[in-house]
């Protein structure tokens, strides 16, 4: 991990997004006190938690593979953190039972108190793991790829459900994911990590509309690189592709050849007099009301165009493409 500074706001749901090996889980474990940094500090509010052992950090941690206690019932799992407290701080038996009941209601598994983890589905286990972490009323809830081990459908349901729980409890939450969709759907803010560096922090809209670097841009979705030229300065600056101006905003203080990154939906089929690029259709397929067409550019580069499902584009057809948007980095 490289030096980074990340400020998490109270009550927010922050998504740590990055490819595998980007350091997001390490960062989460450092916050939890499961791993320790070589240098740097961890602050909870104004309290320095850097030297605190994991037990005293008051974090709730949810693991990718649930890490439920196999030999304990669901109720005992949830009550574990309360029962582990010193006698003086431990709530009375009846109080623990009531809290476990409330949490089971919250995760909508009320009838499951006496079951064992092996009798539950993956989604149910992860909900129990969340209830167990919430039981100790943590200052911050940390979720490490919480839906990573679940089927696509269950994952979608649980995402929505987690957002609901967060809205209801207002619990400050950091979750780690490598799934862009998940991060963009769930988070109040997204922190994009790559190779141990923090690339950008912002709302889902911000990171999508103003990616801070090519890395962020590439990680958040498909894109193609196109050779472009910046001409003029100040208000007159324009980004040209093959001599034709594009609507892309030129970066300040840059002139000459640049790389233009274009999303599939920013490409449009166009007539010869209106086109920036030309090529032949290589293949196409339809999915969910959209058509994705791969076009081989004259220089051999493959462009992906996304089009609403209208006209079919057969392989071999010569087409022209117009660039309606894109990103240039200084």
């Amino acid at each position: 991990m490289h030096d980074l500074s990340l400020d998490v706001r109270a009550g927010e749901l922050l998504g740590l997004l990055g490819p595998s090996g980007s350091g997001k889980t390490t960062l989460l474990r450092i916050i939890a006190g499961l791993d320790f940094p070589d240098r740097g500090r961890i602050l909870f509010g104004s309290d320095d938690a850097t030297g605190l052992p994991v037990q005293q950090r008051a974090v709730g941690f949810v693991f990718q593979h649930y890490a439920l206690f196999k030999h304990m019932s669901v109720a005992d799992n949830i009550a574990y953190g309360l029962n582990a407290r010193k006698r003086a701080d431990r709530p009375a038996k009846a109080e623990i039972k009531r809290r476990v009941g409330d949490l089971l209601d919250l995760i909508r598994l009320s009838g499951f108190a006496d079951r064992y983890p092996s009798q539950l589905s993956g989604g149910q286990r992860q909900r129990i793991a969340l209830a167990r972490a919430l039981a100790v009323e943590p200052r911050v809830l940390l979720l490490d790829e919480p839906f990573g081990a679940l089927d696509a459908q269950v994952r979608k349901d649980l995402r929505r459900w987690l957002r609901e729980i967060h809205d209801r409890t207002g619990q400050t939450t950091i979750f780690v994911t490598h799934d862009q969709d998940e991060a963009l759907e769930l988070s109040d803010r997204v922190a994009v990590l790559n190779k141990g560096r923090l690339e950008q922090v912002g709302t889902p809209d911000e990171v999508q509309e103003q990616p801070a670097s090519p890395t962020v841009l590439k990680f958040l979705g498909d894109s193609v690189e196109v050779e472009a030229l910046v001409e003029g300065t100040g208000g007159q600056a324009r980004v040209l592709v093959n001599g034709r101006p594009t609507p892309v905003a030129a970066p300040a203080n840059t002139i000459g050849p640049v790389k233009l990154y274009v999303r599939p939906w920013q490409l449009q089929f166009a007539e010869a007099h209106d086109q920036h690029l030309a090529g032949t259709v290589r293949s196409s397929y339809r999915s969910q009301g959209r058509q994705r067409i791969e076009v081989e550019h004259l220089d051999g580069k493959v462009l992906v165009v996304e089009d609403f499902d209208g006209e079919r584009y057969e392989a071999g057809r010569a087409v022209g493409l117009r660039i309606n948007g894109g990103y240039v980095f200084a």
Partner: protein, 295 residues
Amino acid sequence: MSDVIAPTFAAREAVPPASAVAEGRAVRWGLIATAIVFLALFLVLPLFTVFAQAFSRGVAAYLDAFREPDAWVAIRLTLLVAAIAVPFNLVFGVAAAWAIAKFEFPGKSLLITLIDLPFSVSPVVSGLIYVLLFGSQGLFGGWLQENGIQILFALPGIVLATIFVTFPFVARELIPLMQEQGNAEEEAALTLGASGLHAFLTVTLPNIRWGLLYSVLLCNARAMGEFGAVSVVSGHIRGLTNTIPLHVEILYNEYNFVAAFSVASLLAGLALVTLVIKSILEWRYSDELAAGARH
């Protein structure tokens, strides 16, 4: 279609093999028979012989073997040695398995190799090590003599030799089990505020309990039955430093076959009981392992 295919099948009339690895009937029965004959000849027959010999002059003669005070001393000594060596190896085994399975440290593979050492060294050599260390000509022999401490030809020597020979059992059994289970549950317990000890007692121990019981059982059986290493360090002092296996050997060398086999039947009985409990544990334990794998 079907009237084209049906005759083809009918014409063949062959039963498809149950699976690709299934062998012909002759091969199958041949293998089974070989295994049974082998088992009968090398395992069941000797076991039967032990009991047959022990009871060859009737129950009274069998019981006579245990009326001898030396036999009782041997039994008590064996129990005492096991009672010291097994708990020691339990603690050592859990500690070593914990260290190896849950942490990375330099010299880890060396430690794993060292744990296996007693399995690869002849028990006689294991005994001789202690003679070289604590014997009167040994490394610490002089110092021990000056201070009047008796290790060889006494209980401490027997216990040391037994611990040496049996210490791989617990660690060997627990290392793969703990490695498979990983750290996640312990980490979960710690984040929930549990102290290391509390996490160990409430999470780690329950997760390894069957494996632990199983390994303690095997360790105990070996501790009580160990002959070679103990024979070297015990000095064979009748009524003092003879364990059950050594007592059996002495009786046998004195041509007192009934008594020898009577006492030997104790060890054989121990083996049978161990086997039964082991099977029960394996049945429970495989259940738990499967639950771990499903997880």
